[in-house]
């Protein structure tokens, strides 16, 4: 979209007046700004006690969404693993025990340390099964601990749904039997 001329503000360099050549007025201006900021409201968020409010489009830890029957929504199509630029999604597909889909993931592991949190997996998924949440304080004691498997990713879903912080963001309508669960969205965004 081109920028309309009304939005452009031209700033000309101010011509210096003679007393400006001594730097002293500028110095005074600068010092008053500095002092003003000394007493202005602080923006620090003292982290462990105070938590920042994270916008819902934040890309944090992944979750695997559940469908209305509480089953994992993923149909093991490998699209996310293919799209992932960091190659950190590991899926082992198995024939689905349920009649409405062919496959389901027997194993679904995301290496959260290798992930670059780009969100490509979320973009790629045809059934909105994988999403990035607003959980940002991801820590662990070992590398193994940071390999999130299916159960852990589903647990992240349960946790974020219970917390109410992450509505299901991507909803593209009818894409397959597993995606028709609009009734189960925790807190649908108004215009999705």
């Amino acid at each position: 979209m081109p920028i309309s001329p009304s939005e452009i503000k031209w700033v000309d360099e101010r011509t210096l007046r003679p007393w400006d050549w001594l730097y002293l007025p500028a110095l005074w201006d600068g010092l008053s700004t500095t002092v003003r900021h000394m007493f202005s409201r602080k923006v620090t968020i003292e982290f462990p006690e105070q938590r920042p409010s994270i916008p819902p489009h934040y890309k944090g830890v992944h979750r695997l969404n559940r469908d209305e029957q509480g089953r994992v929504r993923c149909v093991a199509c490998y699209l996310c693993a293919t799209a992932c630029p960091a190659h950190c999604i590991d899926i082992v597909a198995a024939p689905s025990p349920w009649p409405d889909r062919e496959k389901y993931p027997e194993l679904f592991v995301i290496d959260e340390l290798r992930c670059i949190y780009c969100g490509m997996c979320e973009e790629a998924c045809p059934v909105d099964a994988i999403e990035l949440t607003t959980l940002y304080d991801l820590t662990g004691f070992s590398r193994e601990e940071m390999l999130f498997d299916k159960e852990k990713l589903l647990a992240v879903y349960d946790y974020t749904v219970a917390k109410g912080s992450d509505p299901i963001r991507t909803h593209r309508g009818v894409l397959g039997p597993a995606s028709e669960i609009a009734s189960q969205q925790p807190a649908p965004l108004p215009n999705t």
Binding site: P18, W19, W21, L22, L27, G30, L31, T33, T34, V35, H37, M38, F39, S40, R41, K42, V43, T44, E46
Partner: protein, 371 residues
């Protein structure tokens, strides 16, 4: 050398170190406030124990000496930084002193040194060796660049520093800091030399800031250009010594500003020359320290106000700006002294010098635009 002196030296060394540690804390706090942050607040209430934690960290850190350095000079450099700045403090009175009876309770290590100010300049200029040796011995090109800049900077700014202080010396008729303070206190509020030497005070402050390598004159350690400047290769306690040197320098400069230009411990009504009430000494000490603290605070605020000078601007400011102004200021004082004119003439004199400088700048600009 008597026990009083030894005790005083020990006191001043410990006191300076504690104050330096807390100045670093204050510096971080001020930096945070200016940037709308809260600053260190985790160790102890309001983070007050932070300096102790920092000091412990410096002490316990591994003493790394890189393999490629000139060992003895590398270790010598930070020691020089501390020794010279601490030595300079020996002649600075940090409380009311009695010029006539120097051996009573006193607030100066070496009382009645007739070359006081000269001593400070002489010792202070030795400080450049710590930077040059540190930079050269580190065997690192960034350190070397930093120390070369520093050499040029400190030598250039020593001239306006001494020239501007000479005005005070001529007015007070003494190089003795106690004497200068004494004269001002006796004359009362109207005796503060800042009224007679506003330009001199400004020049002195600017050059002293440059001497102590504080922003906006921190070219020797410009992080963005030189990694860490002359102390790139230093860590742990040796780095802390450089820091200690810098902050002691800042303290000395602030005390000098308070003593030379702002009447030292004198304050109208509360601490007059003749004040003899109980606790008057304590009040005077507090007033002097409060004045010095204000200058320390100003120096810290300036750090977050002004961007760093470019090297040519730095040299230009000193040689084309400060040196001529300081010379003109000195000549005015000399004229006033020579013809025994009224000293208050010096204030309009300063203004006249500034106006002349403006005119000169204007002419320069005309010429630049004309060509």
């Amino acid at each position: 050398m008597d026990w009083l002196t030894i005790g005083l030296i020990l006191f001043v060394i410990t006191w300076l170190q504690t104050v330096c540690a807390y100045l670093i804390y204050l510096e971080r706090k001020v930096a945070a406030w200016v940037q709308d942050r809260k600053g260190p607040n985790r160790v102890g209430p309001w983070g007050l124990l932070q300096p102790i934690a920092d000091g412990l960290k410096f002490l316990l850190k591994e003493q790394v000496v890189p393999a490629h350095v000139h060992r003895s000079l590398y270790i010598l450099a930070p020691s020089i930084a501390v020794i010279t700045t601490m030595l300079a403090f020996a002649v600075v009175p940090f409380g009311p002193t009695d010029v006539s009876a120097p051996d009573r309770l006193r607030f100066i290590i070496a009382p009645n040194i007739d070359i006081g100010l000269l001593f400070i300049f002489a010792i202070g200029s030795l400080n450049v060796y710590s930077i040059i040796l540190g930079g050269w011995a580190s065997n690192n090109k960034y350190s070397l660049l930093g120390c070369l800049r520093s050499a040029a900077q400190i030598i250039s700014y020593e001239i306006p520093l001494a020239l501007s202080a000479l005005g005070v010396v001529l007015l007070a008729g003494s190089l003795n800091l106690e004497q200068i303070l004494h004269e001002q206190a006796r004359a009362g509020l109207s005796g503060w030399l800042i009224w007679y030497q506003p330009l001199g005070g400004l020049l002195f402050f600017v050059s002293a800031l440059a001497e102590s390598n504080r922003l906006p004159f921190d070219l020797p350690e410009a992080e963005q250009e030189l990694v860490g400047g002359y102390h790139t290769e230093y860590s742990g306690l040796k780095f802390a010594l450089f820091f200690l040197g810098e902050y002691t320098h800042v303290i000395t400069v602030s005390f000098l500003m308070a003593i030379l230009y702002f009447g030292g411990w004198h304050f109208p009504a509360i601490a007059e020359y003749g004040s003899r009430y109980i606790g008057a000494t304590a009040i005077k000490v507090l007033i002097l320290w409060a004045k010095a603290s204000l200058f320390i605070l100003l120096i810290m605020l300036l750090r977050w106000t002004l961007p760093r000078f470019r090297f040519d601007q730095l040299m230009h400011l000193s040689w084309m700006g400060l040196v001529p102004l300081a010379l003109a200021n000195l000549v005015t004082v000399m004229l006033v002294r020579h013809w025994a004119l009224r000293p208050w003439l010096l204030a309009p004199g300063s203004l006249l010098i500034l106006l002349a400088a403006l005119l000169w700048l204007g002419l320069l600009r005309e010429k630049r635009y004309a060509t």
